[in-house]
Amino acid sequence: MQSKKSYILFILPGFTIYTVFMIIPLFFAVYYSFFSWAGIGPKVFIGLGNFKKIFFDSQIAPVFKNAIKNNFVYMAIALFVFIPVQILLAYLIHKKIRGYSFFKLVIFLPFVISSTIVGFFSLLVFDPNIGFLNTFLESLHLTSLTSSWFGDPKKAFYLLTGVIGWQGIGVGMVIILANMKGIPEEVVEASIIDGANEWVRFWRIILPFLKPALINVIILSSIYALTQFDLPYIIGGPTGGLDGAMDFINLFFYRYTFGDSYYGQTAIGFGASISVVAFSIILFIAILQNTLLKKILHRD
């Protein structure tokens, strides 16, 4: 009967390493957030002092608000622009338009390219002096359209959003596509016999069938939006670009924790409080979406 208990031995290594490096740190972050601590030396308990600083300090609060605003604007773009585009792309590929298998592959391709290389591509294309885009526009005598691109705070955020979208759009697309393939052939054929045109068929049959998959894509995209780091950091730099146009909560966190103020006064404790705020926002959004979307799913 020894074998009855052997599941423990199978699970234990994974359980331990996962608990120590993924779960316990979450609690430690909460603990550190109540202290003023440079990472070495004495910890001083300051209660909610760090959180007050994030929300009310005249220097820090505006930076925080700008960063979190960018996260939410990006999330809105992901949900209301990228996901519809992903559905459309998946539908075109599902319909097997000419070249569909090639399109699927190449649209997905940027996802396997490292962010540093995608960042390099962005610099190559958008650099104001040697960038492809300005060179191209000049060669067409469209000098008036040239721009400093990422150097222009008004454009930088949307360009960055586009670059992030270019890298990641294939993931949602293939998830939605896989679910479209699960739509029973009879249902589609019945609607054709009933004389439903393509437009009606898409809205009445295909889209409702995709609801569970879309819920997952919405939640995954939102978490991804709220944890943006790589491309903003690589393209905009640790300070989040001119006027903080490309600043995000994770960059804000990184700057205070590992950045210049690395050996500063309150770096670790303060950084921990930022990550607690970020974590709470993600948790809140995830739970909110889960309940709201599940309600919509079960209503009809």
Partner: protein, 277 residues
């Protein structure tokens, strides 16, 4: 609808638009690789064409003078050992969860799934302190531990697979007197080869390309990964741009080759991992 329909004008418009969109990626990657063989002069005056004089000078400078051969080695060691350790630990955990009945099983399952919701970045600071106290900053072992701990996704994929295996397989092996670990290593593992392969591919893409963990935990020059090496060039982009082409090609070509051979498995694996219902 098995009949092959003729494509209407709207369909052709979509085909053309998507073809143009796909040109962006093809152009950027093609240009990257071609440019890596150009001299700096050639790059300036002949930005888009084929190299006028084919040179390996950029690769020599990047690999030998700037030590990318070292970074490449670091990337290979970290990626391969992490994948092996991740596969071992996550397949065992998934097997334990999926094949046995015990009290609190669903709680354990949920517990592992939590990691799918929360990216490792959220807990990075306490992880940093734990690794520092263990003297594992700037080490291979530290990185391998972290990539192994990030096991929610592989555990999820493996447990789906093990759950669907027939119970009789396990029982008949037990009758034959095989021990639990022998059943696991000699029957279950060979059977799960396709899943192992899928998990290995996806982990390869993620770990090879990872930027955040190396940025935080690998601050010493000698232990940099390729992605980190490229990043340090980028911080002085205009001075080094001819070298970045070579450095980026070194990082990109292995991934592109693997992607084009195994794209079906990579995509199918990602899709499986996203369906939690």
């Amino acid at each position: 609808m098995r009949i092959k329909k003729k494509q209407g004008p709207l369909g052709w418009a979509a085909t053309i638009l998507l073809a143009l969109y796909c040109l962006i990626a093809i152009f950027l990657i093609g240009n990257l690789i071609l440019s890596s063989f150009k001299t700096k002069m050639d790059l300036v005056y002949n930005t888009f064409g084929f190299p006028k004089s084919f040179t390996l000078g950029n690769y020599y400078k990047v690999l030998i003078t700037d030590d990318f051969i070292r970074y490449f080695y670091n990337s290979i060691v970290i990626t391969s050992l992490s994948i092996i350790s991740l596969l071992a630990v996550s397949s065992m955990a998934a097997y334990g969860i999926a094949r046995y009945k015990f009290k609190g099983k669903s709680i354990v399952e949920m517990y592992f799934l939590l990691g799918l919701m929360f990216p490792i970045q959220i807990a990075i600071l306490p992880i940093f302190i734990i690794l520092r106290n263990m003297h594992l900053l700037n080490t291979y072992s530290g990185m391998i531990l972290l990539y192994t701990a990030n096991l929610a996704f592989p555990v999820f994929i493996f447990s789906q697979f093990f759950r669907d295996l027939p119970k009789a397989l396990h029982e008949s092996a037990l009758m034959d007197g095989a021990g639990e670990f022998r059943i696991f290593s000699q029957i279950m593992m060979p059977l799960s080869r396709p899943v192992i392969f899928t998990v290995a591919l996806i982990s390869f893409v993620q770990i090879w390309n990872d930027f955040y963990l190396p940025l935080v935990f690998l601050t010493k020059r000698s232990i940099r990964t390729v992605t980190l090496g490229i990043y340090h060039y980028l911080s002085n982009f205009l001075a080094y741009w001819n070298y970045v082409f070579a450095a980026a090609s070194i990082a990109l070509v292995p991934i592109i080759i693997i992607f084009f051979i195994f794209s079906d498995q990579i995509i199918a694996g990602l899709v499986t991992g996203s369906l939690k219902e």
